[in-house]
Amino acid sequence: MSQSSTEVTRQKEQEPGTGGNFKTSVGARHGWDRFFTALVFAATLIGLAVLGVLLVDVGRQGVPVLSWHFFTSLGSADAENAGFLPAILGSLWLLGIVLIVAVPVGIAAAVYLEEYANDNWLNRLIEINISNLAGVPSIIYGLLGLGVFVYIFGLGRSILTGGLILSLLILPVIIIATREAVRAVPQSVREGAYALGATQWEAIRHHVLPQALPGALTGTILALSRAIGETAPLIAIGAVPYMTFLPEGLLSSFTAMPIQIYNWTGEPEEAFQNLAAAGIVVLMLVLLVSNAGAIWLRNKFQRRN
């Protein structure tokens, strides 16, 4: 019975021009091919075109505002006097805290998970947990900061709270990137070190980490630039709208570049919109330079392998 049904299908396929599912009109198929190629090429370009329009639009509005006064003045409720200095310093403070807290902790956690951890339920839980944390919306970290750091730990709406929250936020990104870099170091490097009498930590410190460094650094720079651009969690813990003084220490209240941009964007006067655009120009320049640096580093590293 199965043979006869095969027979039927075969006969069907042999009918000229239809051939079952297989379309034989080569011209039409190639026409569709050209259309499809154009379509997917356009899809690739749309995002970049929007990026181009965005940069031109922001530049057109923002660049004329950039001046010595803009970089050196304090915040103000008055558009003509308002400057970006407290925001720039605030972002630098935050970056400093993130560098001190998130980078060593992230690298340490990655080394533990790759080099030391056994395959038991606890370590598997940590692994799943880290990939989940990487997907938690940043505003949720802001609520964590508000509930735990601001109120329970009593750190207030301070630079320290902001820095710690950003550290927690980018920790999973650093861990994931560093783990990949550590995993890529060949096993023979470790074995060579052991053979010469090195302990596990000595092998890691002197041989594995130096080789994993470029990869880890790339991921870390990308994570740091995410921290610089992050807005929502800082609003949630209560960064101030504008500062008429400079941040003085870890427990000082603060603003940051994206926060200042957000507040200027919310003002109805057009002068403030232009200030926001100028702030964006500065922020984007910082991010473009650091991201380009990270990508360059990775390309150099990949070519060597």
Partner: protein, 316 residues
């Protein structure tokens, strides 16, 4: 093992002491590194504790039934639990609606870009296009918000949609769609790139054209990775905050008109936290109830994506 090697050299007590110190150091390093790895567990614990702890207090004032069934959100005007309405559906619908619009933009474009990068682009072009997409992914969301408010909305107003309001969900969602393109494209591309060459060559040998190979062989073979990229993109759209807070406005209303302002869950949290809301006030508690809802939604989506990614890794 190390200890024996050192003692084998037979040079006595000094070395033995040194190796004991080394053992202590080894153990210490291990403990410190492990503690760093456990911080991630503490973070999750902290998030769950804060969100659900405060949400629990909120649900003692406003029952969960009211939270799930009421059809208005007037928490901003309520001083007591009785004189306000707390229907999460209003904020959740805005989130879902904006996500749908963003996905209509981002999923096809992201997949198209992934197909182009993996199947069509020459190696030289790829070297330029991939970093460019990464730069697109690195643009802070506040910048996208500014762009949606000061460029896209006026542009739509001046060309095809004169009736659009200054704050509207359409421009915000369209720009959010552009924001997720790189996420969808890069995860999909990884999956498509991982499809074995033999499958493509087999199809070519049967006379298939390049498009037929891409759409009928490669994409189906990479489908679980592609689905994972879609789910990750959706999850990012659900959690996106600044674009919505800046460009979609703060009007908590239940509507299907994309030209009007709608407030998403994330935008609501921003609105409340950027004003004065003392700890313990009803408004303060609402943001944690909303945050808990958001957390559960994204956790669910991320878990689905994680499951799909693992499936696609197992195949090859």
């Amino acid at each position: 093992m190390t200890v024996e090697t050192r003692q084998g050299q037979g040079s006595g007590q000094n070395l033995w002491r040194e190796s004991r110190a080394r053992n202590v150091r080894e153990r210490l390093v291990r403990v410190v590194l492990r503690a760093c790895a456990y911080i991630s567990i503490l973070t999750t614990f902290g998030i769950v504790f804060v969100l659900f702890g405060e949400a629990f207090t909120f649900f003692q004032d406003v029952s969960i039934v009211r939270f799930l069934t009421e059809t208005q959100w007037t928490a901003g005007f309520a001083t007591t639990p009785e004189d306000g309405e707390f229907g999460i559906i209003v904020l959740a619908w805005a989130t879902i609606f904006s996500t749908i619009i963003a996905c209509v933009v981002a999923l096809p474009i992201g997949l198209g870009a992934a197909i182009y990068l993996s199947e069509y682009a020459s190696a030289g072009l790829r070297r330029w296009l991939k970093p460019a997409l990464e730069i697109l992914a690195g643009v802070p969301t506040i910048v996208y918000g500014f762009f949606a408010l000061t460029f896209v909305t006026p542009f739509l107003q001046g060309t095809i949609l004169p009736g659009i309001q200054i704050y509207n969900i359409l421009s915000a969602s369209l720009v959010m769609g552009v924001m997720i393109i790189p996420t969808v494209a890069s995860v999909s591309e990884d999956a498509i790139y991982a499809v074995p060459r033999g499958l493509r060559e087999g199809a070519y040998a049967l006379g298939a054209t390049k498009r037929e190979v891409a759409t009928k062989v490669v994409v189906p073979a990479a489908i679980s990775g592609i689905v994972a990229s879609f789910v990750l993109g959706i999850s990012r759209a659900v959690g996106e905050t600044m674009i919505m807070a800046v460009a979609a406005g703060a009007l908590a209303q239940l509507t299907v008109n994309p030209l009007e302002s709608m407030q998403t869950m994330t935008a609501y949290i921003v609105q409340v936290t950027s004003g004065e809301s003392p700890r313990g006030s009803l408004e303060y508690e609402t943001i944690f109830a909303v945050g808990a809802t958001l957390f559960v939604m994204t956790l669910l989506l991320n878990t689905i994506a994680y499951w799909f990614v693992r499936r696609f890794r197992e195949v090859y």
